[in-house]
């Protein structure tokens, strides 16, 4: 009989779930709360999970906390959209502003492995110029890291995650061949390709973090993708290369401890002004873990919330906030789409939803607005498809039920677009309390004129592409956003950023932030690969700083 991953922690008593085998365990080193561990990491997703593995492999003692459960994908995941809501962060939050962000599956995760447990696996590199958007392209902010350095770490990330992708990538500087071959295209992917060709732009197979051939070795044990199509609701076979299947097993093998169902509510600072550890809630009570370093990796809402909720006498405005920028410059990405009906069946529910991509408009600067975007093939399952019919078209009643009958004939392409940083878009604390008694995040967002111009451009281009291949009854989904970034931006000046290039906070030298919050700009691509890449670089830098006695 399966235990319930929500009722009690699974990672304890010296063992943690073995995600690759039914009912099996792997041994886990444990630390006492009175031990001053080298690193307490808050969050185990693309940032924290990656860092936990890489720091433990360097010999640091690591305890990584996650507020969510430790799932066993082979046993806990159903092929069912609504059941798998359990993967999302559905604790209380308040949204407002002119374009309030709808929270849920597209921008949150609450599980060991974070949102990578349910991400669409799209693993893209930023365009080189996007790391110097301010100086090269005239908008947003520069990253404090060169594109060449990022591309070096992208190479490593793609190899270690075993990305499946095309032989040659049509855009940007030369990159190595992807470690695994590209996946076969489904009907939706082939139609995206046809649409791009019809309007004269390039397309390719999407680089994806799901295996196209078996994997068996020290880096994991997984079969190739079975094309069941529920990727965004948790992979039941482990073909998906998430933090839960890539980095967490490595972290455990290297001696890191994972604490699941452990919500960190406050970071403590000591008389010297340095962080001394974290207060966390587990099994009904509050605990304190001492640590020499604290890494916050809770993503762009929970990271600033924790820093703000940790305000104390010395830091009344929250930790790492002398710049006043914690919580500010929140960015999401535009996720508008065009949909239409084909004359022949498409049956887009088969295979990963986004098998084909065009990145044309990230690399074309002949536009009268800043930023870029991609678009991807789509395969929404029935619940999501119904929500698009209601959200975009306002359908209800018999009209809704009739429209849904065309499910197997629909196609669509959806953008991931760059939104520009703006200090007015931000995370603050609400007076609402969550189940732990902590103030919840209030998320304020409005699209700017540039954001709107970019969206209008993308809708027009995407519409042309599906019209050109005979899609009928085309309609626009104009109000949708997805990934997040920016609430603790990195930079080279402590007055205008929260952390430096090494993800180290300017104010508190043993407090680090390593997740999508540090992005100064979000680029026009899905962020997960870049977050993992930043973590790879940060781990190297921490090793170098430790060796130089500068931690």
């Amino acid at each position: 009989m399966l235990s319930n991953p929500f009722s009690a922690p699974r990672a304890r008593h010296g063992r943690a779930p073995d995600v690759f085998r039914h009912g099996a365990w792997v041994s886990m080193r444990e630390h006492r709360e009175t031990d001053e561990v080298d690193f307490a990491i808050v969050g185990t997703g693309a940032g924290g999970g990656t860092l936990a593995a890489l720091l433990a492999e360097q010999g640091f003692s690591v305890v990584a906390f996650d507020a969510g459960p430790y799932f066993r994908p082979l046993e806990d995941f159903a092929s069912d959209e609504s059941e798998q809501n359990k993967l999302y962060w559905t604790d209380r939050r308040v949204v407002d502003g002119a374009n309030p962000i709808q929270m849920g599956g597209k921008n949150s995760g609450k599980a060991v492995g974070g949102s990578t447990v349910h991400y669409a696996m799209v693993s893209l590199r930023f365009r080189p110029e996007h790391f110097s958007a301010r100086t090269s392209l005239g908008y947003g902010a520069d990253w404090p890291i060169s594109w060449q350095e990022m591309w070096h770490y992208y190479d490593l990330a793609e190899k270690q995650i075993n990305i499946s992708g095309p032989l040659t990538y049509p855009w940007g500087p030369k990159r190595p061949r992807y470690p695994y071959r590209a996946h076969e295209l489904n009907g939706a992917g082939k139609l995206l390709a046809k649409g791009c060709e019809a309007i004269g732009i390039n397309w390719t197979e999407t680089p994806l973090a799901t295996l196209s051939a078996p994997l068996s070795g020290p880096e994991g044990k997984s079969p190739p993708c079975a094309y069941r199509g529920f990727c965004r609701f948790g992979c039941t076979t482990n073909a998906k290369r998430s933090a839960l299947t890539v980095w967490i097993p490595r972290a455990l093998a290297a001696g890191a401890e994972i604490r699941d169902l452990a919500m960190v509510g406050r970071i403590e600072t000591g008389p010297s002004g340095r962080a001394t550890g974290v207060h966390y809630h587990r099994e009904g009570e509050w605990h304190f873990q001492r640590a020499k370093n604290v890494v916050v990796a809770g993503y762009a809402i929970e990271t600033p919330r924790l820093l703000l909720n940790s305000a104390d006498q010395r830091y009344p405005d929250g930790l790492a906030n002398s710049s006043g920028l914690v919580g500010k410059n929140l960015m999401t990405q535009s996720n508008q789409a065009v949909w239409g009906r084909m004359d022949e069946p498409v049956r887009w529910y088969k295979g990963p939803p986004s098998l084909a991509i065009t990145e044309h408009w990230n690399y074309d600067d002949n536009k009268d607005f800043h930023g870029g975007y991609i678009w991807l093939g789509q395969g929404p399952l029935p619940n999501e498809w119904a929500s698009i019919q209601t959200g975009a078209r306002g359908l209800w009643g018999q009209k809704l039920r009739d429209a849904m009958l065309d499910y197997n004939y629909m196609i669509g392409v959806k953008m991931v677009g760059e939104m520009l940083p703006n200090e007015a878009n931000r995370v603050t604390l609400s007076d609402d309390l969550d189940q732990y008694g902590l103030k919840v995040a209030k998320i304020t967002y409005a699209w700017g004129d540039n954001d709107k111009a970019l969206i209008a451009h993308a809708l027009e281009q995407m519409g042309r592409s599906i019209e050109a291949i005979g899609a009928k009854g085309i309609f626009l989904q104009e109000d949708d956003t997805n990934h997040l970034g920016g609430t603790a931006r990195m930079g080279s000046d402590r007055r205008t950023s929260v952390v430096d290039a090494d993800c180290r906070s300017w104010d508190i030298p043993n407090l680090w932030i390593c997740d999508g919050s540090v992005f100064p700009t979000v680029g026009g691509v899905n962020p997960a690969l870049t977050t993992q890449t930043i973590a790879l670089r940060t781990a190297d830098r921490i090793g170098q700083l430790a060796a130089a006695g500068e931690l």
Binding site: A78, S79, D96, R228, K350, N383, A386, G394, M404, N408
Partner: protein, 215 residues
């Protein structure tokens, strides 16, 4: 009455095939066994909810009914929502309680004290249409914005419940659960033997035959 697109297709026929794993069977079994009685809602709220949901997604005579009021009640009882609220909206449970009460009060005001459930389909649709178009508001709603309630709660929650039911998957020809078997033929016009067959004009019987072998 239109004919079914996928005659005889029953996603539940795959329950004991390699397309369904134990976790999925458990989840869908539980959903199908949802008690058909109010547990979170009061009896009065339930009766409004049942009539109201029926207009958001009308049932068909030729398809197994989807017990929307029961599924909504179960969702509210478990408090399984999206978690967040708009700054000017209450959280999910309270929004539904207040929304249902306001709908009932609107019906009584407009129709001489008659309850929403007793109105004709047309009158119910008129009231819902007014809510959707921003034509409701006032004393019955307090600070709950009816249009926002409709957009952010009703049109999110009710279709989500309906299209989580196997009966709805059958109707639209969705493959349903697919683990561990997945699919082999990824093209839309290439159907795996365990996918729904669509009735094309003149070939309805063949589709029905094929759908009997969808296992």
């Amino acid at each position: 009455m239109t004919k079914p697109r996928y005659p005889g297709y029953d996603v539940l026929a795959k329950r004991n095939t390699p397309s369904w794993d134990e976790a999925t069977r458990k989840v869908v079994d539980k959903r199908l066994a949802t008690p058909d009685r109010p547990r979170f809602l009061t009896r009065d709220e339930w009766s409004v909810a049942a009539a109201f949901c029926e207009r958001i997604l009308p049932q068909r005579e030729d398809a197994a009914p989807v017990p929307l009021a029961a599924l909504l009640d179960a969702k509210l009882l478990a408090d399984h929502g999206d978690g967040f609220r708009d700054a000017d909206m209450p959280y999910m449970r309270e929004a539904w309680r207040r929304g249902l009460a306001a709908i009932e009060a609107e019906a009584k005001t407009r129709h001489g004290g008659r309850s929403f459930a007793s109105l004709s389909d047309e009158d119910q649709d008129r009231l819902i249409g007014a809510m959707a178009d921003g034509g409701l508001g006032g004393e019955h709603w307090g600070d709950l914005d009816p249009q926002k309630f409709f957009k952010r709660r009703v049109l999110v929650d009710v279709p989500g419940l309906f299209y989580s039911h196997p009966s709805a998957w059958n109707e639209i020809g969705f493959g349903g659960p697919a683990s561990p078997r997945g699919y082999v033929r990824l093209d839309g016009d290439h159907r795996d033997a365990w996918e729904a067959a669509e009735a094309t004009p003149g070939h309805e019987k063949k589709a029905e035959r094929d759908n009997r072998h969808v296992v």
